[in-house]
């Protein structure tokens, strides 16, 4: 049949077409499905593209990194990403499309851009973290309080791992002689099986969680970059929700795994975990010692202070008491001193009052005399001695009375005298003797006065009484009127 081509002719034709179609190298995104390195150092890979939803494979291609390129690419990649160039990684590779008549289509990888992978891993990791966060469990384990002394330790590790041995050595030979109780739960700690294996171990620990204070996940001695399994969502979810605080010592230098993130405390190595635990004990011991020290100090202080207080009170008491007594004594002395002037003043006052009263007596007498003087001033008795005035007045009264007496007496006596004189005069008038003096005479007859001449007869003998004598006669003749 015309136009028939041999397979080689076809393949050559394909080869030419491809070379024409893809003359330049191309940057292609793919996932490493499988990767092998042969003895000569060439790297053979299977690249795929998966549906991000379903994981169904959409495309597949073989690829090769020749030894001389791989020698540069691999370390560069791993150094840059911190990840081994391994299955499951998404990579951005610079490829030339090659077609070999015998081996078929193959992509020759000239270069890998680690930045892309890094971004992709980060994205994936971020997705896991975002999911855990969204589910609200990312901090769950961290929220479990770590016991002050995490002494009962469940360990998930590979028994043969050097890291486990380091961990145990560290714990058992701790310098302070702390006592730890450990129990190992075995698990595969690397590779694709690791998550499942570790989850199984977790379930085992979970069954007896109350016997332990803490769970330690340690891995050691393996590749420093074979840690993708610890970004596994399932594993991280289990760790996050584990009822005991989880300490990780997975052993890597750079970015932490998601397991580290959800763990209670992430440490770099198993030894570091052991040291961490010992450190917790050290801290506790220190706290106890510190508490003891503080306590002893405080108690000692209190006792000392109280003693000081008592002594201070004793020291205070003496001056206070002395002061108090001094004050009382002073007050008493003052009071005593106060008595004398008060009394003396009083006596002085009284004495003064008496003197005043004596003066008043004299003054009153004087006043009395003065009053008398005023009353008899008209008598014009001149005396400067007021005190004598009373007497003078009375004397005057007496004197007056005497003179009144004299006057009255004399008046009366005069009157009487004149009466007597009158009577005397009258008497003188009638006195016969005085009549005789004037020449009359009394004629007696027989001793009796002759009052009438008729009683005389002739011849009667008559006696005549004259002044200074008598004469006898005889009647011779009688004449009658």
């Amino acid at each position: 049949m015309e136009g028939q081509l041999t397979l080689s002719e076809l393949n050559l034709l394909i080869k030419d077409s491809l070379e024409t179609a893809f003359p330049e190298q191309l940057w292609v995104v793919a996932e490493i499905a499988e990767m092998k390195i042969n003895r000569t150092g060439h790297c053979y890979l299977e690249l795929v593209e998966k549906n991000s939803e379903t994981d169904a494979i959409l495309a597949r291609a073989r690829a090769t990194i020749w030894m001389w390129q791989f020698r540069f690419i691999q370390p560069y990649f791993e150094t840059t990403t911190g990840q081994p160039l391994t299955n499951g990684l998404k990579v951005l590779v610079a490829v030339t499309v090659e077609f070999h008549e015998v081996y078929g289509l193959s992509l020759n990888i000239k270069d890998i851009d680690p930045a892309y992978t890094l971004g992709d891993l980060a994205r994936k990791r971020n997705e896991v973290i975002a999911r855990l966060t969204e589910e609200g469990i990312i901090d769950m384990n961290r929220e479990i309080p770590l016991p002050d002394i995490p002494s009962r330790i469940a360990i998930i590790s590979s028994p043969t791992a050097a890291g486990y041995e380091d961990f145990m050595n560290q714990l058992e030979n701790n310098a302070s002689g702390y006592s730890f109780y450990t129990k190992l739960f075995q698990a595969t700690m690397q590779g694709a099986d690791a998550p499942r294996s570790i989850i199984m171990a977790l379930d085992e620990v979970f069954e007896m969680a109350d016997r332990f204070d803490v769970l330690v996940i340690i891995r050691g001695g393996g590749s420093q970059i074979d840690l993708g399994c610890f970004d596994d969502y399932e594993l991280a979810m289990h760790v996050a929700q584990f009822p005991l605080p989880v300490l990780t010592g997975i052993g890597h230098e750079k970015d932490e795994t998601v397991t580290d993130i959800v763990a209670h405390t992430k440490l770099k190595t198993p030894t570091a975990v052991a040291q961490y635990l010992i450190q917790k004990f050290d801290e506790a011991a220190e706290i106890i010692e510190h508490a003891k020290e503080i306590f002893i100090n405080r108690v000692t202080n209190i006792l000392h202070n109280e003693n000081q207080l008592i002594n201070a009170s004793i020291r205070l008491l003496r001056p206070l008491v002395k002061n108090s007594i001094e004050n009382a004594s002073l007050k008493l002395r003052h009071k005593t001193k106060e008595v004398k002037p008060v009394i003396e003043d009083t006596l002085e006052l009284e004495n003064f009052r008496q003197i005043k009263l004596s003066d008043k007596v004299a003054a009153a007498c004087q006043t009395a005399f003065q009053q008398q003087r005023n009353r008899i001033e008209s008598l014009s008795v001149s005396s400067n001695h007021n005190t004598k005035l009373l007497y003078l007045k009375e004397e005057k009264i007496i004197f007056d009375k005497l003179h009144r007496l004299k006057y009255l007496s004399e008046r009366i006596l005069e009157k009487k005298q004149s009466q007597v004189n009158l009577f005397e005069k009258t008497t003188n008038l009638v006195n016969p003797e005085n009549i005789l003096k004037r020449g009359f005479s009394i004629t007696l007859k027989n001793g009796k006065a002759v009052k009438n001449s008729r009683s005389v007869k002739h011849g009667d003998r008559l006696e005549h009484i004259l002044y200074n004598g008598k004469i006898d006669t005889v009647v011779e003749k009688k004449k009658q009127k």
Partner: protein, 66 residues
């Protein structure tokens, strides 16, 4: 004796009486003489008494002045 006891007033009364009787009764000379004598005596008595009284008063005043 009677005269000693007789007061000045009695004496003066008697004088008065006697003088009255002289005036009214017109005694005879004998009587008159008697009466006059009596009056004289009485008046002397009164006069003495007056004098004595005066003496006394004066003596009293004199004594008081001393």
């Amino acid at each position: 004796m009677a005269q000693k006891k007789q007061t000045y007033r009695e004496a003066m009364q008697e004088v008065e009486d006697i003088l009255s009787s002289i005036e009214n009764d017109e005694p005879d000379v004998d009587e008159l003489a008697e009466k006059v004598k009596k009056v004289s005596q009485l008046l002397k008595f009164c006069k003495d008494k007056l004098y004595k009284t005066r003496e006394e008063v004066e003596q009293v005043l004199k004594d008081m002045d001393e």
